[in-house]
Amino acid sequence: MKKRVVINPLTRISGFMEIDVMLEQNKIIEVKTTGSIFRGFEQMMVGRSPFDAIYLTQRICGICSTAHSVASSLALEDALGVQVTALGRYLRDALHCCEFLQNHIRHTYQYTIPDYVKLPDVSSIFKVDHGDFRLPQKVNEQLANHYFESLRMSRLAHQMLAVIGGKAPHNHGVFVGGISTPPNADQIVRMKSILQTITAFIEEKMVPDVYLIAKYYDDYFHMGKGPGNLMSYGAFDRYKDLGTLYVDPLV
């Protein structure tokens, strides 16, 4: 017997998505995903000043806006034949890294943790009727505390971005040639100091928390595996002095 399950909204993402699943004897036989928002950013660019793309494309997405400014500035450099300096690239990538930190912390705690951790009764948004909650009470409590602690950390990651990016989301720092205004020493040391706090949180709490969840849900590793065809444009890669810090382009 076939059974259809539709989940919409798929909450705790930045945007709108529907998951439509067809089951037969408890086995998934077909899945459709639909992104349910259309604004047409490509068409919006037509007839605009090219530099505006760096700002306007950021409005595609609030949680990863810097990625869009970086992509636009790379495209413009390509079109204008501008060669970015090593320093320009480092600074732009540093801004992009701040966005990664913000995004990954929020993705882990605000968007994913509520599937595994029962959050305290302080707000209606934490109420949930269904779920596969397995963590012992003490572990649950610890991770719930980290949910709240993480809010400060992701905030700090955006603060670090704003120190040279002006504001976040939707920064004013990324530009053709790297960044719009080079930072001075006090801005750099401010960013480094913030980074220290965030790094400690990630190493001491976030990474262990992810392992903890993986331990209690190890069967999830064998569920819903995709075809494994993945593509990466590369990020923070192939620096002259430092080599690849994150990932090379690959298929």
């Binding site: 539709v6 919409n8 909204p9 798929l10 909450t11 705790r12 993402i13 930045s14 945007g15 709108f16 529907e18 349910s36 928002i37 259309f38 604004r39 047409g40 068409q43 919006m44 605009r48 000043s49 505006d52 700002y55 306007l56 409005r59 997405c61 609030g62 949680i63 806006s65 929020r106 302080v122 707000s123 209606s124 948004i125 109420k127 949930v128 009727d129 709240f148 809010l151 400060r152 992701s154 905030r155 700090l156 955006h158 603060q159 971005l161 704003a162 120190v163 990016g165 002006g166 504001k167 976040a168 989301p169 939707h170 920064n171 004013h172 720092g173 530009f175 960044i179 205004t181 080079p182």
Partner: protein, 297 residues
């Protein structure tokens, strides 16, 4: 549990400690039923969902404070644990109660709103358009948060294929407008605090709270002395006035220069030009954001 009303010396007077004490006190009162928090619905409609991200960037007050002390947040696509039909049921249940509505994102109107479906209700697509009408009519107060909700913003940028409009084109009623792309967390939380404590704040003739939107960026800009002396930057990165590079500070009304962003560390003109994101008509009426060719010596 230690009674949170008693603080033993030495008192920790840091902001964090004060917030924590207040939160604990409020929690006790909420649990005793002495305090009932107003319900808040945060609707993400046609936009980038960046206003809720900006809200999470609030320092004092912060999101934790808002969630535990200020309101009972009932619906938020980005934050709520429930999903699917269960989430939409939560949203519908609020219609019979008193609630404040915050909306971010424009309203896509093309094809009966099908360009933005925010969920399913009884098996059918539930559009941003339906949600705006349904909840907008029933809410005790409506706050349009960010450029898209206020007048279409980037979602309505030419050629506007989804036929996006601002909330007030769909919901005909008084509302508070907080333009900005995104809206600064303080502008929203300050407005919310005013609403809870003293009712609707004083608004200008465009429905913006005077508390935040009464001064021109250009009048408070630290680069203003250069403007007055006619010293203009030729490239971004120079410390002088950015007017000739296309700065929109002279037409944008908000407290950005004095408030600053993300824990008050910097602001757009600290990095490049103001693009007028808090002014009506953004982005189409504010472009080009950077122009290298309007000045010739």
């Amino acid at each position: 549990m230690i009674d949170p009303h008693h603080v033993l010396p030495p008192e920790d007077m840091s902001n964090e400690a004060i917030v924590r004490r207040l939160t604990e006190q409020a929690n006790v009162r909420i649990q005793n039923g002495q305090l009932k928090k107003k319900k808040l619905v945060w609707l993400e409609l046609t936009g980038c969902s960046g206003n809720i991200i900006s809200l999470m960037n609030g320092f004092n007050p912060n999101l934790e404070y808002m969630l535990t002390l200020m309101v009972d947040l009932v619906y938020s696509n980005s934050l709520m644990a429930a999903e699917g039909e269960e989430a939409i049921e939560r949203l519908m249940s609020v219609l019979d109660e008193e609630f404040i509505l915050a909306v971010e994102g424009a309203v896509a109107t093309k094809n009966n709103g099908l360009y933005n479906v925010i969920g399913r209700w009884r098996g059918k697509p539930f559009t941003a358009l339906q949600a705006a009408k349904m909840l907008g009519e029933k809410a005790s107060h409506v706050i349009a948060v960010g450029a898209c909700a206020v007048d279409g913003g980037p979602s309505a940028a030419k050629p506007n294929l989804a036929e996006c409009v601002g909330l007030s084109d769909i919901v005909k009623r008084p509302m508070i407008k907080l333009p900005g792309c995104p809206c600064h967390p303080d502008w929203f939380l300050g407005t919310l605090a005013h609403l809870l404590m003293n009712g609707v704040p004083e608004l200008d003739n465009m429905d913006r709270p005077l508390l935040f939107y009464s001064t021109l960026i250009h009048d408070r800009c630290p680069r203003r002395p250069f403007f007055d002396k006619g010293i203009f930057a030729k490239t971004l990165g120079e410390p002088t006035c950015l007017f000739k590079l296309g700065c929109r500070g002279p037409v944008t009304r908000v407290d950005c220069p004095t408030r600053k962003w993300d824990g008050y560390v910097n602001w757009p003109i600290g990095a490049s030009t103001c693009i007028g994101c808090s002014q009506f008509g953004f982005p189409d009426k504010m472009g080009p954001f950077i122009s290298y060719d309007i000045t010739r010596e």
